[in-house]
Each structure stands twice: as C-alpha cells, then as structure tokens.
Amino acid sequence: MKVSIFTTCMMDLMFPHVGKNMVEVLERLGCTVDVPDDQICCGQPTFNSGYVEASWPVMHNQIDALSAIDCDYIVCPAGSCTAILKEYPELLVDDPNDPTGDYMARAKILSAKTYEFSQFIWRVLGIADCGAELDTVATYHRSCHMTRLLGERETPFWLLENVKGLEMRQLDGIQYCCGFGGTFSVKEHEISELMVTSKVENIEKTGAETLISCDPGCLMNIGGRFNRLGKPMKIMHIAEVLNHNVDESRIKKISEVATPAPAPFP
C-alpha cells in the first residue's frame, strides 16, 4: 500500500519528530511511504483569516504537489489540516482561478483518499493495536476541527485504549476549544489566553502527567502555555505514543479485539 505523507507546514517548520514517528509506525504496519516534495500548507492560515484571494495559490500548490506522486492514500498528522483538505471541493467552488475545473477535479480525488493518521490506522489499515507500550497516566485533547469538521470522534480513543501500560483519564470540558484557532491565537490573544488557561486547569484536574492529541497546533498552544507557567507536562502527539516501546508481536487487527464502544457525546 502506497502512502503519501501530507506533512503540514507546522510539522515541517516545528515538529519533525511527529513526522518521524508517523513514518515509522506506518512502515511497521506495512505501508510504503513517500513525501511529496513541493507541498507546503493546506491554506488555512490565510483562508481562515479572510485572505481568501491569497489562499487560492496556496491550495493550488498543495493540489499540484500532492498529485505529483502516485499513491493509494494520503495520511496527515493533523486532524485540522486533513479536514480542510477534504473540504477543498467545497471551497474551490468559489475559486475564480480554475476556469477548466482541473484543480477541482484533482481536489476531489485527493479529498477522497486523505485520512488523518489515527483514522487511517483504524479505518483503512484495520489495525487496533500498534503494539506500543507507554507507562503513563494521560488525558486526550480532542481538536475541534478533527471532531467537528472531519467528523472523527473515536479512532484516537480506540487506539489509545490498546496501548500497553497507558492509563487514560477523562478530560472535563473536552468539547471546548483550547484557544488555538490559528491566527486567532495571535490576533485575539486576550480571549485565547482565557481559553487556554481554562483548558490547562481542566487538564491538571485529571491528574494526568501526559497530554495526547492528534493536532500539533493545539499541542503547541497548550504545551506553550504549560511551558509559560513553568509546569511539567509531557506533551505527546499520538504518533509518538503509538511508536513507543513497540513489540511487533502485540500488533492486532480490529477483528482480534473486542468491538469498542462508540464515543459518547460531546
């Protein structure tokens, strides 16, 4: 199975280990991985800030870059960027610079084969247990875009359930945004501060020593706040968790484990 990594600008610029862990997990599970060279960004930073005209070239570049390598699937380490890429066919309806509809046509193809990392493992590869082990008490931060725009509410919880030694604690107010919101965190930093403060309080209340999420943006925000407060908190992307202390003999398919319960609201 040929998999292209949709790296995201944030992972490229800031968090290389997220990509490394992701590649190692995917290869272990039998994927042939490649990284399309000219890809940069999904376009959210400008698009969501209202710079829509400036965003069409960003999306075009992304479509060109990701289409350049033949692959079965595209896998991304961020729920938010995945969600936007999947929304491209809706967004490009307003694109004035695509007279032939060529970008739209390719956007539809890309959209259909793009998955967020954890949902790819569970829903496409059919893997329930990556064989990982992590001795820690952790809680999970659900990103808004992954939950609501991508509609993925379950796979991270299910995968984490099968990590050996990992004790998961429920996070109060899990439905509330951490205050990242891209340029919102900078432009409206006064409101963002109130939001991330509240998120940090709820995380501390769980007694967890580790915070896990599927979105590097949220982790940079919440982790940056913990760092500002000088408080110790282990911040981990799910790829790092699933690549921790792996014993390949423990890897299990969905059919080999009990069916997990659907995620309750919120």
Binding site: D34, C144, R148, C177, V186, I191, E193, S198, E240
Partner: protein, 491 residues
C-alpha cells in the same frame, strides 16, 4: 441602547469581561448544565440530524419567498381585523408604536421579552413619554429594568451575568424583605408584577413565529408573561423581525419542538401560544391588534452569502456551546446579539465599522455550526465576514496585514518555503527572549522556547511560549531523505 450595548472599545470590553469572575463562573455553569439537558432532549427525540434538515428546509423556504409570506400574513391579520405596519428603520417602528400607544390612550405598558424591541431601544423611548409606565415582565428583564436598565447578556437568559445576591440587592430597593432564595424572590416578583399587569392597557410582545396562512402569532414562554400581556390589555403590539415567519401552524409546531429542545432541553416550552386579534364574542385578548414588521438592515443579508443567518430561530444554543462566549460573556461582544449568531448578525445589522471585530472573535471551532438546529453554517459565515473585511473592503492595514500577505506568499511558493525551512532556526533569534523547555517531549527538537517575540509572534508570546524552530539538519524532510537512502521503506 439598541443594537450596541457598550461604548467601550472591543479590547477594553474583553479586559472587563476577563475580570468579571462571577459572570464567568455563572456562564460556565450555565453552559455545562445546558449541555447535558440539550443533548439528552435531542437524543430522546431521535433522528436529530434529520430534524435539523427539516427545520432548515422550512426556514430556508420562508426566507427564499419572504415577500410572499409577509404579504399572506399581513392579509390574514387584516382579515381578522388587525393591523400591520412595515418598518424599514428603527425610527419608523418606534414612531408607529408610540403613536399607537397615544391613540389607545395607553398609560400602563407591559412588555414580554422581545429582542427586537431591545434593538429598537423602545424602552428608552417609552420612558420618555409622560404619563406612561413601562414594565418588562420576563423575570430576567424585570431584574435588568430594576437595575437601572442594565444590558442583557444572553438572548435566552438575559440576566445570566447576575447572581442571587445581586438580584437580592435590586429587589430590596423595591421593598422585598425576604432572603436570597430564587424561589422566594420569584414569588415577590410575581406579586409585584401581577398588580401592574392588572392595570395594563397596552401589551407589547415579541413573536417566535408569525403564521402566514392565518394571521396569528406564536409565542413561547416558560413564565406565562406573554400570555398575560396578550390577555389582559385591550391592545397588543407585536414587534417582529421580518424573517420570523412560518407557512402554517404545522411548521410552527415543528419549529417549537426544535426550539424548546435546543434552547433549554425542554420537550416543549411551558406556554406555547397561538394568538391574534380577538374573535367577536370573546371578552379578553386584544381588541386592537398591531404587528410591526422590522427590517433594520436584515434585508442586506438577502441575496448574499449571509442569507442563511436569517434562518435563525433565536434558541441560543450557539451561545451555550461557544468557548468564546464562555470566556467573554454577552457584554464582551458589545452587541444585543452576542455569541456566534451575534458575531454573524451584528455586522449585517450595524455595519463593519462598529461590529467588524466580532467575526474575528472566534477560534472557528465550529461548535456553533454543529449545534445549530436549522443548520446555519455559522463558522463559515464568520470566515465570509473576514473575507469581506479583508479582501473586499480592504479594512486590514499595517504590519499584521503585511505579515499575512507574506504568509500567503510563503505558503504558496515551494521555493520560499524551502528557504524558510533552511533559515527558520536562526531567523527569529535576534529578536527574541528565550528560556528552557519544561513541557517536554513535544518540544524535543526545539531546544528552547521563545518568551517574547516581535510582530505577530508577540501576540503568541503574550500568552504562551513559542518553540524555537528546529535546526534545518533536524527537519523531517532531511530525516526522511536520509531514512529512504538507508532503505527505511524497504517493505
């Protein structure tokens, strides 16, 4: 004070809201309580997503054929013997209402909750009339009135920012001698307001839905104050936004069910009333029935990408799930219509000059879109507003605008992005203060954290540390090339 509820600049309102610990705690508690009630009520109904589509289809159809529905409704009001006044502006509406009160020789006006009359700033106009008393009869609005006309902060719970002790203080001024138990205070308000109800000669009500095919209106209250306001006085003035129609009682009933479950998690609001001009032979209810239909810039949304906001049924669910509303409350928005719906609606009604900041006061978490019972894509409409302000009206200036344009260039040019990857580690260093990493693991390759940076980075570092970008040799792309050469993907 009408649509605008504050004269303070936006950032000062946020700072004031951040300091108001009580309001903050009470909103958080309200949101959490409502969460469970609302979600349970919807789950119990079943097929919620299909109900939403049904609600959306009704409201979209009404907006698409709004002139026809308004014509049908007004014809039917007239057939029943009532009157309809179409007001383009708030001034026209106020003049008409004051004139009716004069004609009716009204001295005691009772009002039941109406956001549109607040939009008109009608209370202030009525106060200026000699020999006319005015009473807001919704318990929350009564509290606000008696607190020297404090501004509402929620469209369903207007006094959500006040606690029982504050209410107690307000009621003591009215002669209340009991304790601060909400039940006791509510009984006092009942008695106080009942006396005023009985002498009322004009009732002013809002309108949840106007029924086009029969010329009657639909009012939903839990207290029963709208029912007293439409029973006792001889004259009733209904004030409604022009978009609040439904084809018939059949659709009103559907919307009432969705409204009650979305607003407060009830199956139906306690008093769901369909009423209009008194029928011959009846002895109470309005002998003189007036409906004021207000535009006040709502029509600016018609035929635009913002048309869907007119589908709103004012359930307040988007406020109740909003993490920004949770932090800054209604007063932070500075608009009569706060929260996500307010951030979309206020710039349309009041213009970008005054409310242009509201669409940016959102992290675009989409909780609003997810909860809206009539499927208004609220967070997308916020982006649309940003686009109008940025691309079409060129309202963005200065260094931030420049930086965003650089981001646009940098994220569309592979060459520039690769340059950025190469130089990012050292690029920021001269302008920053740094400290070590305490939140571990995730910042493994960042070595240290920036505590104070320039430009947009400054907005970030005012709140939290920013990881220093890793050295180019540690980049994922560099690692991956090496990894492939090592035969890492041999499988």
């Amino acid at each position: 004070m009408g649509l605008s509820t504050s004269t303070l600049p936006f950032k000062e309102r946020i700072a004031a809201a951040a300091k108001d610990k009580f309001a903050h705690a009470s909103i958080a508690k309200a949101q959490d309580t409502q969460y469970t009630k609302r979600e349970n009520a919807r789950a119990e109904l079943g097929n919620w997503q299909d109900w939403r589509k049904l609600g959306q289809s009704i409201r979209q159809h009404v907006i698409q054929y709004l002139p026809d529905y308004l014509e049908e409704f007004s014809d039917n009001v007239e057939k029943r013997g009532g009157n309809v006044f179409f007001a383009q502006t708030t001034d026209e509406a106020n003049d008409f209402i004051l004139n009716v009160i004069k004609q009716q020789q009204g001295h005691h006006v009772v009002k039941s909750k109406s956001m549109v009359t607040a939009e008109l700033d009608l209370d202030k106009k009525l106060q200026a009339l000699p020999d006319v008393s005015i009473l807001e009869t919704d318990l929350a609005e009564f509290i606000l009135q008696e607190d020297d006309w404090d501004e509402p902060s929620h469209i369903v719970f207007p006094a959500i920012h006040k606690d029982r002790n504050q209410v107690h203080t307000i009621f003591k001024k009215l002669g209340y001698e009991g304790d601060n138990d909400p039940e006791h205070m509510a009984r006092f308000a009942r008695k106080y307001m009942r006396e005023r109800f009985l002498e009322a000669d004009v009732g002013i009500t809002g309108c949840n839905f106007a029924i086009a095919d029969s010329g009657i209106i639909n009012l939903d209250t839990n207290e029963g104050n709208a029912d007293l306001a439409d029973s006792i006085p001889k004259a009733q003035i209904v004030v409604m936004g022009m978009e609040r129609l439904v084809p018939s009682m059949k659709e009103a009933e559907i919307m009432d069910n969705m409204l009650a479950r979305s607003a407060v998690g009830q199956k139906l609001t306690t008093y769901v009333t369909f009423e209009g001009q008194q029928t011959p032979g009846e002895t109470d209810g309005p002998e003189n029935f007036y409906v004021v239909v207000l535009d006040n810039n709502r029509s600016k949304a018609l035929g635009t990408e913002f048309q869907e906001i007119l589908q709103c049924i004012r359930c307040g669910a988007c406020l109740n799930v909003c993490p920004v509303y949770r932090q800054i409350g209604g007063h932070g928005y500075g608009s009569l219509y706060p929260g996500p719906v307010g951030a979309v609606l206020s710039p349309i009604l009041g213009g970008y000059e005054q409310f242009g900041e509201l669409p940016f006061a959102s992290s675009l978490c989409a909780a609003c879109t997810e909860t809206c019972p009539v499927l208004i894509p609220l967070h997308n409409l916020l982006i649309k507003h940003r686009e109008v302000e940025t691309d079409r009206l060129n309202m963005m200036h200065g260094f931030t605008d420049f930086q965003m344009k650089v981001v646009g260039k940098g994220t569309s040019s592979p060459f520039m992005f690769k340059m950025a990857l190469r130089f990012k580690h050292f690029g920021l260093s001269p302008w920053t203060h740094q400290k070590p990493v305490t939140a571990t693991n995730f910042f493994e390759y960042n070595n240290s954290m920036i505590t104070k940076g320039p430009g947009m980075v400054g907005g970030w570092t005012d709140v939290r540390d920013l990881p220093v970008p890793p050295k180019h040799r540690d980049d994922f792309r560099v690692w991956f090339k090496h990894h492939k050469k090592q035969g890492g993907d041999a499988k």
